[in-house]
Symmetry: C2
Subunit: 230 residues, 2 copies
């Protein structure tokens, strides 16, 4: 095998980058997302067209009890035609709400639980070739019952949702067997497993650690807003 | 904390499920995906509207050399405004091509490499609330140089792509530091780390192991095709 450049340490890092948009079109508007098409100018001066769905971003919670069992819900996901085993999660949909507050709200709404100890477990983008979404996954420990937030009503697929506990090791086995497929569950379970089994738990980032994807999203949203303005 | 039902073993499994579609609309058509809106009938007889992007599905490859270094590319991803560190990956876009053949093609096209040993590392759905996409990630070992497939030309953001090697442990550290965010990289690196460090490598599934998400997709595609027919 030929020699390839080797990247190590802090150089192993994504880079916020924004190639110029020469033309922007709206292909369709949904309730939460807009399907758009941008003609982008590449560094060598060529152009390429990229269609993608805008997205507000989301948070998810791997909530672990004292026996290393993970709180999950079963939820019907129409786009993929599956009822999936998932961690509590939701959209960043309330103006000005912090990421941590959003995660705490989702844990209370979906599982009627609260947690004492919150860490940033992992951040990821869900499908960066066609979707603007980025997700922060928290690790939450020190669980206790909590009331469902006032005024919150379970609707649609959430009305059909069941809350369960699953031992972390059973979830890892289910990931490798291909029996669970939700991205935040797969990412969160593998990250929690690595953190707990490799002694990295104390190194996990604070819940309010910087999240660069949010800055890139805000810049893009402003740019698209200006391009769509009459 | 109150008692919750506990799920263990093989019961930890997603379930293919298809709630009836009462109404189907096309919101917008892109080059590769269609943005659709389905009115879905829930088990209690209510209806809910769900907007989502159709997707052909994809494969990715965690290719490990003999020093446990992972083959990565850096690629501009316009929807998120980042140049990301990613494993070779691509759409299941060729008629009748097997998932494994698609992954082997992507490894040759993007990195000019081939591999002797292929396993199914992990399957996941990227954003099951708004996107139909499912991805199979392979673990590939026994790397050697390969010619780029005949007729293949790097275009757009791929023309700007760099191929590198990154030690697996440096990638795990980058995941926990929030420096890398591509979903197939995050999932694949954490899964490879778990497989190699927990003695699960010999248990990894065969490259042609069943992949239930593909059956659910085929059924949905047929249903949508019939609903869209004049």
């Amino acid at each position: 095998m030929r020699d390839l450049p080797v990247l190590t340490g802090d150089a192993v890092a994504d880079a916020a980058t924004d190639w110029p948009i020469a033309e922007h079109r709206v292909l369709g508007r949904g309730r939460l997302n807009t399907f758009v098409s941008d003609t982008v100018v590449t560094p060598d001066g060529a152009t390429m067209v990229r269609d993608y769905l805008t997205h507000t971003g989301a948070v998810g919670v791997i909530a672990l009890d004292e026996q290393e069992r993970v709180v999950v819900v079963r939820q019907y996901r129409h786009p993929v035609g599956f009822k999936l085993i998932e961690p509590p999660a939701g959209l960043l949909d309330a103006d000005g709400e912090s990421w941590l507050t959003a995660a705490q709200r989702e844990l209370a709404e979906e599982a009627r639980l609260r947690a004492d100890d919150w860490r940033t477990l992992v951040d990821y983008m869900t499908s960066p070739g066609c979707l603007q979404e980025s997700i922060r996954v928290f690790l939450a420990r020190g669980l206790a019952d909590a009331p469902r937030p006032e005024g919150f009503v379970l609707e649609g697929e959430e009305a059909d949702m069941e809350v369960c506990l699953v031992p972390l090791d059973d979830l890892v086995a289910a990931v490798f067997a291909g029996r669970v497929q939700n991205p935040t569950l797969v990412v969160g379970v593998l990250a929690a497993h690595a953190a707990l089994r490799s002694g990295r738990e104390a190194d996990l980032r604070a819940p309010d650690a910087p999240w660069d994807a949010r800055g890139a999203k805000a810049a893009r949203d402003q740019e698209l807003g200006e391009l769509e303005a009459p």
